[in-house]
Symmetry: C2
Subunit: 317 residues, 2 copies
């Protein structure tokens, strides 16, 4: 039986707590009412999860819902923020509206990551999708100490470049998933599945407030993202290919250009521990003067090229 809109809202709302210290009023009015704490700035990010763009038929809907919110949380982590509230705009395709299991699993995945990180679903919008594709847009609101948000623009020549965790794993897992979706049916968010269940580095981001000069998350691919960071900071960089921490079964190309690892890329000239909250931290290069961003591999230096995903052109460059 297909969903009615009010029923869908009830389903979304079911697990949404109301009236926390921060969320004075959640789902159920024209807008949510949030009460920021004194001395804190808010960070706000929005991320699409579009069927056949960000997730496909071979994704378990639970994972699609999990990724939907996890990606937004990763943006908050990259700002050094503490996530507080999420808003979900969800337009169901006719197929999803008919098949309640898909929608329920999607929401269950979304609620799972919300619970894991103490985020409350505080509002959103619902609709029937105009075409064949389910459309979701997630908004995450987080808090950060006033004036302390980690920006992309703070890198200075001489800073070391670091990355959390391992790279390329999401691309490798994506390939494996596409080849044999059945093998991934029972996979769980255990931190070992970077594509299906990316782990936003919230705790690390918080620690980086006192350590990093700049920070962003690795969403488009290390190559593209490092170029963005350098552009925002007006600096160059020298990236050492041989020390980039590769995830199991992944290649350097996947680490550089695969994207969606949702690790943190940051710069610092302070003493950075090798692990923060149990997550490996690896030094992968150095910030330089000028605008050149180069890749050093086996003693050879070449210009780093954007290899990540660009929407609309629909291709990996």
């Amino acid at each position: 039986m297909p969903y009615g809109e009010l029923e869908l809202i009830r389903e979304i709302r079911r697990k949404s707590l109301r009236n926390s210290e921060f969320i004075r009023f959640g789902i159920g009015d024209d807008a949510a009412v949030l009460r920021p704490r004194k001395g804190e700035d808010l960070v706000v990010t929005t991320d699409f999860s579009l069927e056949d763009v960000h997730f496909a038929d071979f994704h378990p809907p639970f994972a699609a819902g999990y990724r939907c919110l996890a990606r937004g949380l990763s943006d908050v982590a990259a700002m050094g923020g503490r996530p507080l509230a999420a808003f979900l705009s969800l337009a169901l395709s006719p197929r999803w509206a008919q098949d309640r299991t898909k929608t329920r699993e999607f929401l269950r995945g979304l609620h799972a990551v919300a619970d894991q990180f103490g985020v409350v679903l505080a509002g959103g919008d619902t609709a029937g999708a105009p075409g064949k594709h389910t459309v979701a847009d997630i908004i995450v609101v987080g808090a950060v100490p006033r004036g302390k948000a980690l920006l992309r623009s703070g890198a200075r020549p001489g800073d070391a470049i670091y990355v959390t965790g391992r790279l390329g794993g999401a691309a490798a897992e994506f390939e494996a998933l596409r080849t044999d979706p059945k093998a991934f049916r029972k996979v769980k968010p255990d931190g070992m599945h970077p594509h299906l269940f990316p782990q936003p580095r919230i705790a690390v981001g918080h620690r980086l407030l006192k350590l990093a000069s700049s920070c962003m998350d690795v969403s488009d691919g290390l190559s593209t993202d490092l170029l963005h960071l350098c552009e925002a900071s007006g600096v160059g960089a020298s990236l050492h290919a041989d020390v980039i921490p590769l995830a199991p079964h992944s290649t350097l190309d996947q680490a550089l250009n695969g994207g969606e690892d949702y690790e943190l890329l940051f710069t610092s000239r302070r003493s950075v521990p090798r692990r923060i909250n149990g997550i490996e931290i690896t030094k992968i290069g150095i910030v330089t003067e000028g605008k050149n961003v180069s890749l050093l591999q086996k003693g050879r230096e070449r210009r780093l090229r954007r290899g990540g995903w660009q929407h609309l052109t629909q291709e990996n460059r």
Copy 2:
């Protein structure tokens, strides 16, 4: 020539100011950084604008963009809020990505209403749409004096029920537009076109902070919306059909069930002026005990039925 994603972001960003008192950092990082004022709560709302659901081929793209943001602003008005920042998630259909005029006009309409109400576009997301339909989701963040947000739940028996402006005009204009789109090509946001250019009642909403016991905007239709308000407040109501202020060329049915007028529906037991900021205010009924919501018409009383739009079931009930 089709858009690339970076180019689209530049186009969106072009007119977006940065670093206001409230918006410490807008477009260009992993998230926007907002600095709430002491003594204020924030209100947050999200609204889809989906091609063939919320706008169609017969809508000038300028109007589609205008409505996209105006609808979000109306939610902020309904909370008594002052809108500050907007976030746009925009996925272009192949046709919109090819035809830059459509996208530019959509953004021009959106920027027009942003300028009109002093709202800054502070972030969002971009993508290629998976199907044939352009997909937009607008998020609006506003501020309201701490603890003073106008909720739907504050109506008490004995309060009078009011509405701003006139109702049914959006439905009437929609019908006319669908019949003869060419006649509307040169129409402008002059306050006389409730469907194409709804005017969010921001200034009225602000004044209602000191007058109203409850408030919401008329988006689904007066019948549905009044029932929502009564349910949230745990009250009944008696609505006087003969005094509902009809827009020119519109019927009582359009006023009750047409929706999308984006006027404010509110309750008060105080003395309410007949005009607020130049906008007519009309008393249309009274809040009652119990749960019955009735419509009084020419001396006869009947039960008010939901007549507004419900998504997913895809029908007017």
